[in-house]
C-alpha cells in the first residue's frame, strides 16, 4: 500500500536557490527507505516538504490513505535543555493534550524502547551525543507515528556509536513497523539499513535512480562484513557517482 506520493515537486527559496526540481518518489507503508545524495542536494528540503513544514513551489505531495501522524528526527538531537529526558519525550503528547499520567507512562516506555530506562530524570547536558539522539528518537516515536522521517540523524556521531544506533534503530523498526524514511549521505549506512535506496542528483535535486536491497532482516554485524553487503555498496556507490555526474 502506498503511503506517500511525491509528484514532480520543486522548491525555490526566497533567495532564488532552487533546491528541488521535478522530484518524484513513492513511499510504501511499512518500508525502510533511504534517501541518498550528496550534501546540499535538497534532501532536508524534501523531508521538510513531506512533513508539511514548508510548501512546495510546484508539484504535489499525495497521501492516498490520508496524512498519518508523523515523527521527525533532525541531524542534531534538538532537545529542550531546560527539560529532563522524560519531559523532552513527553513534549509531543503534551502538545497533543494527553493527560499527565498517561503522558509520563508513555514517555517512560518510549525511553525504555531506545535503551534509556533509568535516565528519565537526566538533563540533556548530562547525556552523551548518542544518548541525546536516542532521546530524540524516543520523542519522535512516542506518538506511535505511522511515518518516521529522519534527517541524517547519526551523521554527527562517532563510528562506534553510529553502528550501535543503526542496529538498534532496525530493531525498533522491526518491532514497531513504522514507515522509515532515512536521509543520509553515507552509502554504507543506506545499504546497511534500508530495503530500498532512492538516489538523488546534485542541486536542484531529484530522485534519479532507485536500488533495492534484498537482504533479509535482522541485519547484524555479519551482514555488514559480508560479500553481499560489499557488492551492494559498490552498486549504490556507482549509482551515486552517476547521479552526481548527471
Amino acid at each position: 500500500m502506498q503511503l506517500v506520493g511525491v509528484r514532480g515537486v520543486a522548491k525555490v527559496f526566497a533567495n532564488g536557490v532552487k533546491a528541488l526540481d521535478g522530484a518524484s518518489l513513492d513511499i510504501e507503508a511499512g518500508e525502510f527507505l533511504s534517501v541518498l545524495g550528496p550534501s546540499g542536494c535538497g534532501k532536508s528540503t524534501l523531508l521538510r516538504l513531506i512533513a508539511g513544514l514548508t510548501p512546495a513551489s510546484a508539484g504535489t505531495i499525495e497521501w492516498p490513505a490520508g496524512k498519518p501522524d508523523l515523527g521527525f528526527v533532525f541531524q542534531e538531537p534538538t532537545l529542550m535543555p531546560w527539560a529532563t529526558a522524560l519531559a523532552n519525550v513527553e513534549l509531543p503528547l503534551k502538545l497533543g493534550g494527553v493527560a499527565r499520567s498517561e503522558r509520563e507512562a508513555r514517555a517512560a516506555e518510549a525511553l525504555d524502547h531506545v535503551g534509556l530506562a533509568g535516565f528519565e530524570r537526566t538533563w540533556p547536558r548530562e547525556l552523551s551525543g548518542g544518548m541525546k539522539m536516542r532521546v530524540s528518537i524516543a520523542r519522535a516515536l512516542v506518538t506511535r507515528p505511522k511515518l518516521l522521517l529522519m534527517d541524517e540523524p547519526f551523521a554527527a556521531l562517532d563510528e562506534i556509536t553510529r553502528r550501535r544506533l543503526n542496529t538498534d534503530l532496525l530493531e525498533l523498526w522491526q518491532r514497531t513497523r513504522f514507515t522509515a524514511v532515512f536521509v543520509t549521505h553515507s552509502v554504507f549506512e543506506s545499504v546497511f539499513l534500508s530495503q530500498r535506496i532512492a538516489v538523488m542528483s546534485t542541486r536542484p535535486g531529484r530522485v534519479l535512480s532507485e536500488l533495492a536491497i534484498p537482504a533479509p532482516y535482522p541485519r547484524t554485524e555479519a551482514f555488514g562484513t559480508s560479500a553481499e553487503y560489499a557488492a551492494l555498496c559498490r552498486l549504490a556507490s556507482a549509482q551515486l557517482s552517476e547521479a552526481m555526474a548527471a
Binding site: G52, L53, T78, L91, P92, L95
Partner: protein, 258 residues
C-alpha cells in the same frame, strides 16, 4: 572559588588602610576628606536618619524594577507575537532609552504632580530597556528545528510561547534583569537629586544634597556607602536568583568542575 572573595576583600582592606593612613598623616580635615573610621562612626551615629532614607530609596528602586520586569516582558512578548507592533513601537523604546534621564526628569516631575510617582517613573524609564531588549533577543533565539517540531505537532502561538519561547528566553531575561537592578537604583538616585525634595520621606540622594549644603562631609560619605552597598546587594541577589533558576541546565550557571 575562595580566591574570588578573598582577593577583592584583601584589596579593599588595603585601600581602606591606605586611605585612613593618608588622612591621618596629612592631617586632612574631615570636611575635606573623612577617613573610613570617621565615615563608619557617622554611619552608626546617623543610622536613625539614614536607615529610613535607605528604605525610601530601596522601595522606589524595587517598585521600579518590578514595573520594569512587568512592562519589559509584556512588551517583549507582544513584539514577538506581532511584527507590526514591534515595528511601530520599538523605535520609541529606543528613544526613551537614549534620552538622558536628568533631561526628562524635570518634565516628569512637573507632570506627575506627585514626587513618589515621578521618581518611580524615572527609575522605571532607566531600568526597563535592558529587560525589554534582552527578552526580545531571547524570544528570538529559539532553535529553529525546535520551532519546526512545535509546528509539526500543531502547537499554536500560545503553546509555542509558553513551552518554547519563554523558557528559551529565560537566561537572556535574567541577564537583562541583573543590569536593570543596578540601573533602577541609579535612576531612583538621579531622579531624587533632580527632584531635590524635602519632606519627611526623603531618600538617600536627598540626604547627600542636604549634608552637602551643611558641609557634613562624613554624612555624605556614609550615605554614599549605603547606596553602593544597596547596589551590590541587589546585584548579588539577582545573580543568586539567576543561578538558582539556571543551574540545572544553562551553561552560564554550570561550573567548570562539574
Amino acid at each position: 572559588m575562595t580566591a574570588r572573595f578573598i582577593a577583592p576583600a584583601v584589596m579593599g582592606l588595603l585601600m581602606l588602610v591606605l586611605w585612613e593612613a593618608i588622612v591621618r598623616l596629612a592631617e586632612i580635615p574631615p570636611y575635606v576628606l573623612p577617613g573610613p573610621v570617621a565615615v563608619a562612626r557617622t554611619l552608626v551615629a546617623d543610622w536613625g536618619m539614614l536607615a529610613p532614607a535607605l528604605g525610601v530609596t530601596l522601595t522606589i528602586t524595587l517598585e521600579a524594577l518590578a514595573a520594569a520586569v512587568i512592562v519589559g516582558v509584556l512588551l517583549a512578548v507582544l513584539f514577538s507575537l506581532s511584527r507590526w507592533v514591534e515595528l511601530s513601537l520599538f523605535p520609541y523604546a529606543i528613544i526613551l532609552q537614549v534620552t538622558p534621564i536628568v533631561a526628562i526628569a524635570p518634565l516628569i516631575i512637573a507632570w506627575a504632580n506627585d514626587v513618589d510617582l515621578s521618581l518611580l517613573i524615572c527609575a522605571w524609564l532607566v531600568a526597563f530597556f535592558p529587560i525589554l531588549s534582552n527578552t526580545i533577543l531571547g524570544l528570538r533565539s529559539v532553535d529553529h528545528n525546535l520551532l519546526a517540531l512545535f509546528e509539526l505537532y500543531g502547537a499554536g502561538r500560545w503553546k509555542t510561547l509558553i513551552y518554547l519561547r519563554l523558557p528559551a528566553a529565560l537566561p537572556y531575561f535574567l541577564g537583562g534583569l541583573r543590569i536593570s537592578g543596578g540601573l533602577a537604583l541609579i535612576g531612583a538616585v538621579v531622579a531624587e537629586f533632580v527632584a531635590g525634595t524635602g519632606g519627611n520621606a526623603s531618600g538617600l540622594a536627598y540626604r547627600i544634597l542636604e549634608a552637602g549644603y551643611q558641609l557634613r562631609i562624613p554624612r555624605m560619605f556614609a550615605a554614599l556607602v549605603l547606596i553602593s552597598a544597596a547596589g551590590i546587594a541587589i546585584y548579588l541577589l539577582l545573580s543568586l536568583l539567576s543561578h538558582l533558576l539556571l543551574r540545572r541546565w544553562h551553561e552560564s550557571a554550570i561550573g567548570p568542575e562539574e
